[in-house]
């Protein structure tokens, strides 16, 4: 790995962590349990579009581990990892389709992040009834995915690759 790549990865990781911390300050989670903005997905979108898939995976894993240690604890990290992995795989798949922009990829990422998390939740509490909550999570993923996708679209325009 070149020094430039290491430096870039470090900066992106720091940005992802700060965005993750920042969105914890917005108490969306209190009114709609399990819902957050997903601002740090902007960093993953940057990695997917302007670097490569391998770098995006490294970033996702490090981000989950570090924010687990700093904020959310082990149980939180398991949820984030399930959501993050499924979301990243699906974003990479959808990005390969023609006629899809970064906004669509972002929405898919948000949707599958929530699908991954609710799957783990239903596995943990061993209660399939928890899937009744899926519609709420899907609709909120469309809204947050659109928001972060549009932010990412303009952020990428202003950033060098």
């Amino acid at each position: 790995m070149k020094t430039k790549s290491i430096t870039r990865l470090g900066i992106l990781l720091a940005v992802a962590l700060v965005l993750g911390y920042f969105e914890n300050l917005i108490p969306l989670n209190a009114s709609i349990p399990g819902v957050k903005l997903g601002l740090s997905n902007i960093v993953l979108l940057y990695a997917i579009y302007l670097i490569d898939a391998k770098c995006a995976f490294i970033l996702m894993i490090l981000k989950v581990m570090l924010s687990g240690m700093l904020f959310s604890g082990v149980s939180g990290a398991i949820y984030s990892f399930a959501g993050g992995l499924l979301s990243l795989i699906m974003m990479l798949v959808i990005k390969r389709l023609p006629d899809v922009s970064i906004v669509g990829v972002s929405v898919v990422g948000a949707v599958f992040h929530n699908v991954g998390q609710i799957s783990i939740a239903s596995f943990v509490v061993e209660n399939r009834y928890i899937f009744f909550y899926l519609p709420v999570l899907l609709i909120s993923a469309v809204i947050t995915g659109l928001a972060t996708g549009i932010i990412a679209k303009y952020a990428l325009k202003g950033l060098p690759d």
Partner: protein, 125 residues
């Protein structure tokens, strides 16, 4: 936004609506009375009728939850979990369970305790 972006967004909304309708259709058959079911580790731990108000204490793998059942509904009084989401989910009552975002549910994921308020037929009009 490109054309397929809109297709993606629309299909997610359609799936969400379908699963919402599906859940309503396959909803559990309500009994005559109003009751609360407490699940621990995915199994029914206790079923309490709203006509017997009480506080239920759940001890599970070192986790501690106190659940208050009143004639109106149910809430998580205290929980030993670190995120306290279950306590913040507030009270599920017969009045608010239709409009409450979690319906009749209160879920504490870290402690693997979930509570469901089931409304009976007898007081529907």
């Amino acid at each position: 936004m490109k054309k397929r972006d809109k297709v993606i967004i629309l299909s997610v909304i359609v799936i969400a609506l379908l699963s919402f309708v599906g859940y309503r259709v396959f909803e559990k058959q309500a009994s005559e009375t109003n009751y609360v079911v407490i699940y621990v580790n995915g199994e029914v731990y206790k079923t309490v009728s709203l006509s017997e108000p009480q506080t239920v204490v759940v001890e599970n793998n070192g986790h501690h939850n106190e659940i208050e059942i009143t004639e109106e509904g149910v809430k998580m009084l205290t929980s030993s979990c670190d995120n306290q989401n279950c306590v913040m989910q507030g009270e599920a009552t017969l009045e608010n369970y239709e409009t409450r975002i979690l319906g009749g549910w209160i879920v504490c994921l870290p402690n693997q305790v979930s509570i469901e308020l089931v409304k009976g037929d007898s007081n529907e009009n």
